[in-house]
């Protein structure tokens, strides 16, 4: 549905550029020799340099950091396939990311602006963190500018935009009630572009790398679902791929942590597992090179890839807190109370009716009900 092509203009090499500018092969080799000498390489090194310069260039990538905890970056570097070192050295040119880049201050900003200018319309923009807006825009500033200003500028020339994690996709913890900083997911700031949402707190490292690799390998955006998430990783609920599912269907539940059922690995539904309402690849891809995932380690899913998951708590009960009624009020408690009040009201009504019945019946008779005598009627009522 959303198979937008990533522009491929970026894959020109330094050699292509040189030819375009009127240099010939000999000039190019001479340049390579100088480069090699500068780097202290022997004659054989010249071919390595020439080869590198002839290869198509790696797509430029900008990674912005806003209101975040940086666990998305951390998760990204956990990816095992591809490994991040390979991605960074061979596949992409990550020109800006405050977490890892060598230069600071002006020099860092230079990296950013060079990329924005030289690769306008070509670079991939990755955004980690939410953006405080409105009166609260000053809650995140970099180099004296607000996150909102920066995001608007940098999104302009992006060929593709990825929202990393729940922060950029749905605001995450800082957007939980009462959202004091007006933290906003990026699709509500950048409205005129497709945004690939990769929610999760954080998303699985391999999923993050997988989204990038998808774009590089197939040269198009991954297919997205109706809310903008790549179908490849977010089309199934954790519950649908959970290995504890047979216990769920059999009605075998952990009643409380560390009980005999927990020790047998029963389903965590009754201690609040959000697997049935959470779309993520945890059950399949698992975490940290397939080592485990929350449920496998005995804790329910808390729904970390779902919008508003912080406000769907408390985490340890299946039923959320009833909206607006505070902790310890769930739908069943409120519902039962409502039913109780109704029943009480009806009982009161029945009692009053019974007290008033003589009059009502009189009126009914007065309207001329056929063949009814007040006395007879009264005795009939009593037996009711």
């Amino acid at each position: 549905m959303m198979n937008i092509e990533v522009k491929t203009k970026k894959s020109r090499s330094v050699y292509d550029d040189a030819v375009e500018k009127g240099f010939n092969r000999r000039d190019f080799m001479k340049f390579c020799t100088t480069m090699a000498a500068f780097m202290g390489l022997s004659a054989s090194g010249v071919t390595a340099v020439a080869k590198a310069l002839e290869e198509k260039s790696r797509p430029a990538v900008i990674w912005m950091h806003f209101q975040e905890c940086t666990c998305c970056s951390e998760s990204f570097i956990r990816s095992s396939h591809p490994m991040v070192a390979d991605l960074l050295l061979d596949n992409i040119s990550l020109n800006y990311t405050e977490t890892l880049q060598a230069p600071s201050g002006h020099a860092a900003e230079k990296s950013l602006h060079e990329t924005m200018e030289n690769h306008f319309g070509e670079y991939i923009l990755l955004v980690e963190g939410s953006v405080p807006t409105g009166d609260m825009a000053s809650c995140c500033c970099i180099g004296g500018k607000t996150a909102e200003q920066i995001l608007n500028e940098v999104a302009e020339g992006a060929a593709a935009i990825v929202a990393w994690g729940s922060c950029a996709s749905n605001g995450c913890v800082q957007a939980a009630k009462p959202n004091p900083t007006q933290a906003t997911p990026i699709h509500k700031v950048i409205k005129n572009k497709t945004i690939i949402k990769v929610p999760g707190c954080p998303p699985i490292g391999e999923v993050m790398a997988g989204v990038i690799v998808h774009m590089l390998t197939f040269e198009r955006l991954p297919e997205l679902d109706s809310t903008g998430r790549p179908k490849a990783f977010y089309s199934r609920r954790v519950h649908d791929t959970c290995y504890r599912r047979p216990n769920y269907d059999a009605g075998l539940f952990v009643e409380t942590f560390d009980d005999p059922n927990a020790k047998k690995g029963y389903c965590l539904y009754k201690v609040g597992c959000r697997g049935p309402v959470t779309y993520n690849a945890c059950g399949v891809t698992r975490w940290n090179d397939g080592t485990s995932f929350p449920i496998q380690s005995g804790h329910g899913c808390i729904g970390c890839s779902e919008a508003n998951y912080w406000d769907n708590g408390p985490f340890y009960s299946h039923l959320a807190e009833f909206p607006g009624f505070g902790i310890e009020s769930n739908a069943d408690k409120i519902g039962l109370a409502a039913a109780g009040i109704t029943a009480a009201g009806l009982t009161a009504h029945a009692v009053i009716t019974n007290i008033r019945k003589r009059k009502i019946i009189k009126e009914g008779v007065a309207e001329g009900k056929y063949g009814l005598e007040p006395k007879e009627n009264e005795s009939q009522e009593k037996t009711e």
Binding site: S226, T227, R237, D240, P246, N247, Y248, D249, A250, G251, L252, F253, E255, P260, N261, Y269, K270, R274, P276, V277, T278, Y279, G303, E306, A307, N308, Y309, N312, H318, L319, A320, F322, P323, A331, D332, I334, G335, L336, A338, A339, T342, A343, L346, H349, A350, I352, T353, R356, K359, I360, K362, E363, G364, A366, E367, G368, K369, Y370
Partner: protein, 239 residues
């Protein structure tokens, strides 16, 4: 404000108000709501049964859900038939009985409120259900729609059936599966409250109106004062 007793006599006539399809709808609906509420409640609060089994030895929770989904379909199609009847049913069955469309409707609501809450005897106009009951059924129909869309909305994650796919739009509107599910659960209590009031009031009106209210949803007939009837009431349906 008491109404003056005035002696006059009236004749009761049999009026056919609810066709078989509406009566069937009513009882299938009542049954499926009952089953859905019980199974739904169990889905939300599974009791600790058979706690030391192996998973392959049991499937009770799966069966509970299965029953819920079977009755969900029955509930849906039954409702569809009723909706058809809202447009092509008899005079007492069409949508006009549920949607306040004229002054008379509001006047009647007031009448019924007086009967129900001020315990005064008003003059009933409607032959089918009264205007206040009509409103309450309208609320019920809306509740049913909400329950169907939220139910099929969450069900969309578990099924690729064409009917279910029609509900793919629901979950994003409610703000995610968790919220949709919560609302679905909350709405269950709406049915509980409706049913309590409804059953009570049906019996109450059977008693105060004396028109054979309760029996009408079984046999289809009511017994109505002939002087409150218009000619067509007797000609059209009093067969």
């Amino acid at each position: 404000m008491a109404i003056q007793p005035a002696l006059h006599t009236t004749q009761l006539r049999r009026v056919f108000v609810f066709s078989l399809s509406v009566r069937l709808f009513h009882w299938i609906n009542a049954l499926s709501i009952f089953v859905l509420a019980v199974t739904g409640y169990l889905i939300g609060n599974p009791p600790a049964l058979l706690t030391s089994q192996e998973a392959y030895q049991g499937y009770w929770f799966g069966i509970t859900r299965f029953i819920h989904f079977i009755f969900a379909y029955i509930f849906l199609f039954n409702f569809v038939i009723r909706i058809y009847r809202l447009f092509f049913g008899n005079r007492f069955e069409t949508w006009r009985n549920f949607i306040p469309s004229n002054k008379g409707f509001f006047r009647e609501i007031w009448q019924v409120v007086r009967t129900d809450f001020l315990f005064t005897r008003g003059h009933l106009v409607s032959i089918g259900h009264n205007a206040l009951a009509g409103i309450s059924y309208l609320f019920l129909f809306i509740l049913m729609i909400l329950q169907i869309i939220t139910g099929f909305g969450i069900y969309a994650a578990m099924s690729d059936a064409v009917i279910v796919d029609l509900f793919n739009w629901v979950v994003p509107i409610f703000g995610g599966d968790a919220a949709t599910r919560l609302w679905h659960h909350i709405f269950m209590w709406g049915f509980v409250v409706f049913t309590l009031i409804h059953i009570y009031l049906v019996f109450y009106h059977d008693y105060v109106d004396g028109r054979g209210e309760v029996s009408s949803i079984f046999g289809g007939w009511k017994f109505v004062e002939s002087d409150t009837m218009k000619e067509q009431d007797t000609t059209d349906y009093n067969k």
